[in-house]
C-alpha cells in the first residue's frame, strides 16, 4: 500500500492509508463547518485540526520512526521538526477549542441556543426580492429590528425541526 515519489532532493514515501485518512478528516471537518449549530462547527474544527496535524506529521516521514537518539541510526529517523510544529499546533488548536466551547456556552446562556443566526443585512437584501415586502428608503433601523424577530422565528423553527 505504499508508493514512492521523488520530490526535490530526497525520496519521500507516502503511505496511501495515511493520505486517505487525512483526506477523510478534512472532508468531515469541512462538512461539519458548514452547519449552523456551533457545537457541530466546534467538532468540525477539532476534526479538521486533527487532519492538519496528521498532515504535518506525515511531512516528517512515515510512521513508526521515532527520532530518539540511540535507538536507531539517524538516517532512519523521522524528521523531528514537523513533530515539534505539530505539537505547537495541537496546543493552539486545543486552546481555541476551549474558547469556542466557552463561546458556545455563552451563546446558549444569552440566546437559548447555539445556532449561528442569519445576517441581518442578508435578510434585508433577500426581502428586497419579494414584491409583497418592499423596502422603503430610510427605514433601515426598524427593518433591522424586524429582521431580528424573523431570525429568531427562523431559529425557533430550526430547533423544532431538528
Amino acid at each position: 500500500m505504499t508508493m514512492t515519489m521523488t520530490v526535490t532532493m530526497n525520496p519521500v514515501t507516502i503511505n496511501v492509508v495515511m493520505a486517505l485518512t487525512v483526506g477523510v478528516l478534512y472532508a468531515v471537518g469541512f462538512t461539519l463547518l458548514l452547519s449552523r449549530s456551533l457545537m457541530r462547527v466546534l467538532i468540525g474544527v477539532v476534526v479538521l485540526g486533527h487532519g492538519t496535524n496528521l498532515l504535518l506529521q506525515l511531512a516528517g516521514g512515515p510512521p513508526a520512526r521515532p527520532p530518539i537518539v540511540g535507538t536507531a541510526p539517524p538516517e532512519s529517523f523521522a524528521d523531528p521538526l514537523p513533530q515539534a510544529l505539530a505539537l505547537t499546533a495541537i496546543v493552539i488548536t486545543f486552546a481555541l477549542t476551549t474558547f469556542l466551547l466557552a463561546l458556545g456556552y455563552r451563546a446558549f446562556v444569552l440566546v437559548g441556543h447555539d445556532e449561528v443566526q442569519d445576517d441581518v443585512e442578508d435578510r434585508r437584501i433577500a426581502r428586497q426580492k419579494v414584491p409583497s415586502a418592499p423596502l422603503e428608503a430610510g427605514d433601515g433601523e426598524e427593518d433591522v429590528e424586524g429582521a431580528d424577530d424573523e431570525v429568531e422565528a427562523a431559529a425557533a423553527r430550526g430547533r423544532d425541526g431538528s
Binding site: I92, L103, V116, G138
Partner: protein, 510 residues
C-alpha cells in the same frame, strides 16, 4: 542591535503578564500599557533608521543559525509598518483608557482588556519581524486569539453572533495556513522564508502554483479580499469602538503584509499577476458599492476598509518595484486612516446614541471639532490632494500606468473606486454633520460596554484621535522622504538578495 529586535515582541508580552498580575490596579495597568507601547514605538523608529542605513537586521533566536533556528528580520518594509502600527495601537490604547475613565470612573480595572490588548500588539510585532513561516503562523494565532477575546468581551446577543462568525472564519483560515505549511515543508524541507526563497524555485511549476495559491487563499481570508471578505462587515461593526478601530487598522494590514512578503519572496514573477489584478478590481468595486447602500456608519466604514484592501492588492499585482513600493506606502497610510475613522465613528456614536445615519444630523454645529476630525481622514481615505491618501494613490497609479495595458485599465478602476469612496463619505457628511440637529437617543442597552447618547466624551479621547490625524498628516508632509523610503523597500522586495544574504549569510547562494 540584535537584542533590540526581540524587544518589540517581548516587551508587550511582559507587559501583558504584569497587567494580569495587577488586574486589580487600574492605574498600574494603564501606565504599563502606555509605557510599553511608547518604548516599542521608539524601538521601531530606531530599527527603521538602522535598517534603512545598513540593510536588514537579523537575530538568530537561541543561537541556532538559520535555516535551523528561528530568525527575526527587520528590513525597511517591516520596520516601517511596525512603526506605523505601534503609533496606531498607542493612540487607540489612550482612547480606550479615556473612554473607560469617562464611563466607569478612574478606579475600575479590567482583567481582560489590557493583557489581551498587549498580547495582540506582541502578535502584530512578531508577524512583522519573523523570518520563518511557522513563526508567522504562531504570530497570527497570538494576534487572533487576543482579538477573539476582545471582540467577544461583555457579550450581548449581537456580539456573540459577530464573534461566532469571526472566530470560525479565522480558525478555518488558520487551519488552511497550517495545511499550507505542512505541504511546503513536505516539498522543500524548510520553513525559513529566506531558505524557502531559494528552494521553492526548484519545485515543478504546478506544485509551486498550488502552494502560492494556498497562501493567497489563507491571507486572502484574513485580509478580506473579495470574494473572501464576507465575514468582515458582519463582525467588525459589532465590536466596541476602540477595538473595532484596532482591528480595522491592523489585522487586515498584517495579513496583507504577510501576503506581500510571501508572494514577493517565494513566488517571484516578472510580469503583472492577472489573477490578483482581477481580485483587486472585484475588491475595490464590491467594497465601494457595498458602502454606498449602508445606513450603519460602522458597516459603511467596514465596506470601505474592504474596498481599500483592493488598492494594495493592485500594487502587489503589478509586481514590480514601483508597484510593491506603492502598496507598502498605501498600507502605512491605510493603517492610520482607517483606525482614525473608526475612532471618530465611536465619538459620533457616543454623541448621537445611534449608528444609523438617518437618525443623526447637525453635528457640524453642535460638535465642530468632531467635524474637523472626521473631515481630514475622510478626505485622506478618498485620496484628495494634498493628503497622504493622494500621495499613496499617486504612487500606485504611476506604477500601474508604467507597467502595461491591463494594469492601466485597473488604474482607471482605482480612480473610479476613489470617487465612489468620496461619494460614500460625502453621504456620511451630509447626513451626520449637516441638516437638522437630532436629539441624542437614550442608551437602549445598558448592559453592553458602549455608552451612547452622551456628550460626556473626555477631552483626551479627542486628543488621541487628533494624534492619529496628525500621524496621517505627517505622512503627507514627509511624503518625499517616505516615498523614497518605500521605493527602496520595494526594490528590496522585488530583488530579495539583501534579505536572503542577511538571514542566511554565506549559504544564500544555494
Amino acid at each position: 542591535m540584535t537584542t533590540v529586535l526581540t524587544l518589540p515582541v517581548l516587551l508587550p508580552m511582559l507587559g501583558a503578564a504584569v497587567t494580569v498580575l495587577g488586574s486589580r490596579r487600574a492605574a498600574l495597568q494603564r501606565v504599563v500599557g502606555v509605557v510599553v507601547l511608547s518604548v516599542v514605538a521608539v524601538l521601531a523608529g530606531v530599527l527603521l533608521v538602522v535598517a534603512d542605513e545598513r540593510g536588514p537586521i537579523v537575530t538568530q533566536l537561541g543561537g541556532w543559525a538559520a535555516p535551523v533556528g528561528i530568525a527575526l528580520v527587520a528590513d525597511r518594509l517591516s520596520a516601517l509598518l511596525l512603526l506605523v502600527s505601534t503609533l496606531v495601537t498607542l493612540a487607540v490604547l489612550v482612547y480606550a483608557i479615556d473612554q473607560r475613565i469617562a464611563d466607569y470612573g478612574r478606579g475600575t480595572a479590567s482583567t481582560t482588556f489590557h493583557p489581551m490588548y498587549l498580547m495582540l500588539c506582541a502578535g502584530v510585532s512578531l508577524a512583522y519581524l519573523t523570518g520563518d513561516l511557522f513563526t508567522l503562523f504562531v504570530a497570527f494565532e497570538l494576534m487572533l486569539t487576543a482579538s477573539y477575546v476582545l471582540i467577544t468581551r461583555r457579550t450581548n446577543a449581537s456580539r456573540i453572533r459577530a464573534g461566532m462568525t469571526y472566530v470560525t472564519v479565522s480558525l478555518l483560515s488558520s487551519l488552511l495556513f497550517l495545511t499550507a505549511i505542512a505541504l511546503i515543508y513536505a516539498a522543500t524541507g524548510t520553513v525559513n522564508l529566506a531558505d524557502l526563497a531559494g528552494r521553492i524555485g526548484t519545485l515543478p511549476s504546478g506544485l509551486r502554483s498550488v502552494l502560492g495559491l494556498m497562501l493567497l487563499v489563507v491571507f486572502g481570508i484574513k485580509a478580506a479580499i473579495v470574494p473572501l471578505h464576507f465575514w468582515l462587515p458582519d463582525s467588525y461593526p459589532n465590536a466596541p469602538g476602540p477595538v473595532a478601530a484596532l482591528f480595522a487598522g491592523l489585522l487586515t494590514k498584517v495579513s496583507f503584509y504577510a501576503l506581500l512578503r510571501t508572494q514577493t519572496l517565494l513566488f517571484t514573477r516578472d510580469e503583472p499577476w492577472t489573477l490578483l489584478l482581477v481580485l483587486a478590481v472585484a475588491t475595490m468595486l464590491v467594497g465601494a458599492l457595498g458602502a454606498l447602500v449602508q445606513n450603519d456608519l460602522n458597516r459603511l466604514l467596514s465596506f470601505l476598509l474592504v474596498s481599500h484592501i483592493g488598492f494594495m492588492l493592485f500594487g502587489l499585482a503589478v509586481f514590480d518595484a514601483a508597484g510593491v513600493a506603492g502598496a507598502a506606502l498605501y498600507a502605512a497610510h491605510h493603517i492610520t486612516v482607517l483606525a482614525t475613522l473608526f475612532l471618530v465613528s465611536g465619538l459620533i456614536t457616543r454623541r448621537t446614541g445611534t449608528v444609523a445615519l438617518d437618525r443623526m444630523g447637525g453635528l457640524a454645529r453642535s460638535a465642530p471639532w468632531l467635524a474637523v476630525l472626521f473631515a481630514i481622514p475622510a478626505l485622506t481615505l478618498a485620496g484628495m490632494p494634498p493628503t497622504a491618501g493622494f500621495v499613496a494613490k499617486l504612487a500606485l497609479l504611476e506604477a500601474g500606468a508604467a507597467a502595461g495595458v491591463d494594469t492601466r485599465i485597473v488604474a482607471g478602476v482605482v480612480i473610479m473606486a476613489s470617487l465612489l469612496t468620496l461619494y460614500a463619505l460625502v453621504r456620511v457628511w451630509v447626513r451626520v454633520f449637516w441638516g437638522k440637529p437630532c436629539a441624542p437617543l437614550p442608551d437602549e442597552d445598558d448592559a453592553d460596554e458602549v455608552v451612547v447618547g452622551t456628550a460626556r466624551s473626555s477631552v483626551p479621547m479627542y486628543v488621541a484621535t487628533g494624534l492619529l490625524v496628525a500621524v496621517s498628516l505627517a505622512i503627507a508632509v514627509f511624503a518625499g522622504p517616505l516615498t523614497a523610503l518605500t521605493a527602496r523597500a520595494g526594490a528590496d522586495l522585488v530583488d530579495p538578495v539583501s534579505y536572503r544574504t542577511a538571514v542566511l549569510g554565506g549559504r544564500a547562494s544555494r
